[in-house]
Symmetry: C2
Subunit: 187 residues, 2 copies
Amino acid sequence: MAKLPEKTDFPVSQVRRYLEPGSIVLVSSAWRGATNIMTLGWHTVLEFSPSLVGLMISSGNHSHRMIRESGECVINLPTTALTDTVVDIGNTTGAEIDKFAKFNLTHQKATKVGAPLIGECHASFECRLRDDALVDRYNFFIFEVVKAHVAASPKHPETLHYTGDGVFMVSGKIISRRSRFRPEMLD
Amino acid sequence: MAKLPEKTDFPVSQVRRYLEPGSIVLVSSAWRGATNIMTLGWHTVLEFSPSLVGLMISSGNHSHRMIRESGECVINLPTTALTDTVVDIGNTTGAEIDKFAKFNLTHQKATKVGAPLIGECHASFECRLRDDALVDRYNFFIFEVVKAHVAASPKHPETLHYTGDGVFMVSGKIISRRSRFRPEMLD
């Protein structure tokens, strides 16, 4: 089995570094003794501090009720090394299978929430439900990231960006325009 | 001057193709005879049909009031050819300059909203404000895409995904796992 990336604490106010690029994420949850994982591409950063993110979790997903009832989840960032797993998680349902077992993924204990981290992912963000005002209307959950774990390398892992129809774009190549920014626009 | 990409009608229910990958977008607006453009990375798809997208437009931006008052905007998709323009638009304010003029961008008339399309962008999505319930609390606007314009080629343009601190990831390379999806999961 591949070695798991070693993750260390990361400031929650800086999670935009990993979430703003808009890649597919794996959302893990726990409720009533069961765990689950879903593949999700519809998310956005909403605020630096408190560290807020919004996720559209369709009510058709088994995870929807688990996350709503438990009020918690972990947002995990997979790299291209996990491409087939990302697809397979999205094409199966936690109502029928145990996804950690089926896809040989490693539970890691979170520190502030009950949902598990996925050991194979590059980063994991522990989240508590902050506002469910738009859940009934749009399945839109607002979470606060309460703890962040990130692997130190690679600094810019290749990530998967879904376009629909079974096709992903891959990002990883970097361009910096730091010198072109006003200092107060950098963080 | 570079030739503008020729855009044609595109189904509004399929805009996730261009927005779900999570690249930086340029949001254009018009209000009281003025136009403006802002660079924005905090957005998510929310629904296929109606075609809904959510945008976090900070109240510190000159565009915030223009978009809230007019109830309209256009989400434009820039490619890496526009990298410096994307940065410069994000580092200036429409309170002081006319961004279309300053950055030599081409106004194109929208068909359903008053805000202009940006001719140089690969795609433009005309939006009407659908729900402002979370604007006061989170600056989060929910729009309905009412008309979509997309260039036919390239099929997968290189796009910019912001990480903060002046650094972008670039995506454009494609991997397909179509054969691994259950048919009902494809669209």
